[in-house]
């Protein structure tokens, strides 16, 4: 196993870069960070739409969220991989396809986290803000969102773990990321699948487990602050995020 790592660590880490496109673990992390960064603003809008005072906006965003949640991520990838080029008229590469699919998928999940974070705040917070004369937007920006986003930080972090795991599906459309790199190494060596896939699984595990543990630490920290100050922050409702394995 160490021998394989010694011989192939560059491929595992950055793929064929700089001779070819960036790949390997670096590409996985890059795709995940891009995916999170781009889906966050969409999620914020979707999440606010889910609790909008306007019925039509609530209905449209609910349909979007439920449709995405009911569709396998692979289907979303295929839609953007095969159908998008037909719509926009020219082919697109695997990398932006995967990032695009991740943004669609994660926006829906993060939107639900934003929504439940907002709904978990005591009603008195928004009433107090509105009683001062702040309008809806001002109340959201100054009072509701800072608290809601802070409270849902641990859930968002676990969702980021899901996002990292989802990037592995880029393998199916041959995006140069970590799983793809391992499969390349595997087919080159032919006789060492146990070692190669153990390296792959172990690396993912270390990355994701570290993030999971930090999410738990943040959650404990917030829970402690809440205990010290139980009157003002109600604990998040038992909201089940459905993680991606």
């Amino acid at each position: 196993m160490l021998q394989i790592l010694r011989d192939n660590w560059v491929l595992f880490l950055i793929g064929q870069y700089p001779a070819g496109p960036l790949g390997g673990l670096a590409a996985t992390v890059l795709i995940a960070v891009l995916g999170l960064g781009l889906s966050f603003p969409c999620a914020l809008l979707l999440g606010l739409g889910r609790i909008s005072p306007f019925r039509s906006i609530r209905a449209v965003t609910a349909i979007i969220v439920h449709t995405v949640r009911g569709t396998p991520f692979l289907m979303v990838i295929f839609w953007s991989y095969f159908a998008l080029p037909i719509i926009i008229g020219h082919p697109i590469a695997g990398f932006p396809t995967l990032v695009g699919a991740l943004v669609i998928y994660e926006s829906a999940y993060l939107a639900e986290i934003v929504r439940s974070g907002i709904e978990a705040l005591p009603k008195g917070q928004i009433e107090a803000a509105r009683s001062l004369g702040l309008n809806y937007r001002q109340a959201m920006m100054s009072v509701v969102l800072p608290q809601a986003l802070y409270n849902s930080l641990p859930t968002m972090m676990s969702q980021f773990v899901s996002l990292i795991k989802e990037t592995s599906l880029g393998y199916v459309i041959s995006v140069n990321e970590f799983t793809f790199a391992a499969a390349q190494v595997n087919s080159r060596l032919l006789t060492k699948p146990v070692q190669v896939f153990s390296i792959l699984a172990l690396t993912y595990f270390l990355l994701c487990f570290a993030l999971t543990q930090s999410a738990r630490a943040v959650e404990r920290h917030i829970a402690r602050r809440r205990r010290e100050d139980p009157a003002v922050i109600r604990p998040l409702e038992s909201f089940v995020v459905e993680p991606a394995p």
């Binding site: 439920h66 449709t67 949640r69 009911g70 569709t71 396998p72 991520f73 692979l74 289907m75 295929f78 839609w79 095969f82 159908a83 037909i86 719509i87 773990v161 990292i164 795991k165 989802e166 990037t167 592995s168 599906l169 393998y171 199916v172 799983t179 499969a183 595997n186 699948p193 146990v194 190669v196 896939f197 153990s198 792959l200 699984a201 993912y204 595990f205 994701c208 487990f209 999971t212 089940v240 459905e242 993680p243 991606a244 394995p245």
Partner: protein, 233 residues
């Protein structure tokens, strides 16, 4: 999209319809088989954890963390490429003669989802106050009757919402089996797409099938939850 006219007959007739139907059947088998096995494994895990033995507790914790922090696709690839290598030769031969892709995908899916389901059961059990247990023992019930009549019915109700979520999760992720060549719905729609170039139609049909099934699972869950909620009152 100029000049692209939709034509569903290429997808929903003849040979291609047969492919589609067989894909649906394989997805359904994979889902049902993996669900039953995952639930069984989850119960085994939770029993192991509650034995009070240190190694058993450690094993279950590690099992859950590993399966939750490694991508399912990687688990599937590991089962497909690596696990057979670890088996004795007769077992390998048996696998190859019996649709190894399907069996290995089913095992990978159930071993992974079992980790999630056992966590759902655990959170349900943990939410029951110990006084319930004490009250039941004080009435003269033994350990098993206490579990059977007092603890488990309450825990099941609390575990239900996450269990339904994980059922949905399992259903959607049966599509990952296509990566190792299981002829399920996603695989077959790719094949039809290849054959007809009717990209929109075939993905629309496949997505609709997935969506309807997902909504059915969600609705069933909501219905059951409401009934359980009424009983609780």
């Amino acid at each position: 999209m100029m000049g692209y006219s939709l034509d569903f007959t290429a997808v929903l007739a003849g040979e291609h319809l047969k492919w589609l139907l067989s894909g649906i059947q394989v997805t359904a088998e994979l889902f049902a088989g993996a669900w039953a096995l995952a639930l069984l494994l989850a119960v085994v895990l939770i029993v192991l954890r509650n034995t009070g033995l240190r190694p058993a507790h450690w094993f279950v914790t590690t099992y859950v963390e590993v399966h939750q922090n490694v991508p399912l696709l990687v688990q599937v690839l590991f089962w497909y490429f690596a696990v057979p290598e670890l088996l004795p030769a007769p077992a390998q031969i048996w696998l190859n003669e019996h649709n190894s892709e399907f069996i290995l995908a089913l095992l990978a899916l159930s071993f992974c989802i079992a980790a999630y389901m056992s966590e759902a059961l655990r959170s349900g059990l943990r939410a029951i106050p110990p006084t319930q247990y004490e009250a039941s023992r004080a009435l003269g019930f033994g350990y098993l009757s206490t579990m059977r009549y007092v603890i488990l019915p309450q825990a099941a109700r609390l575990s239900l919402p996450p269990l339904i979520n994980y059922t949905l999760l399992l259903f959607k992720n049966t599509s990952i089996a296509m990566a190792i060549g299981v002829h399920e719905l996603t695989y077959q729609s790719r094949q039809i797409e290849n054959d007809t170039f009717r990209t929109f139609e075939v993905f629309a049909v496949a997505t609709a099938i997935y969506l309807l099934s997902s909504f059915a699972i969600m609705a069933l869950g909501a219905l059951y939850e409401r009934r359980a909620g009424l009983q609780a009152r």
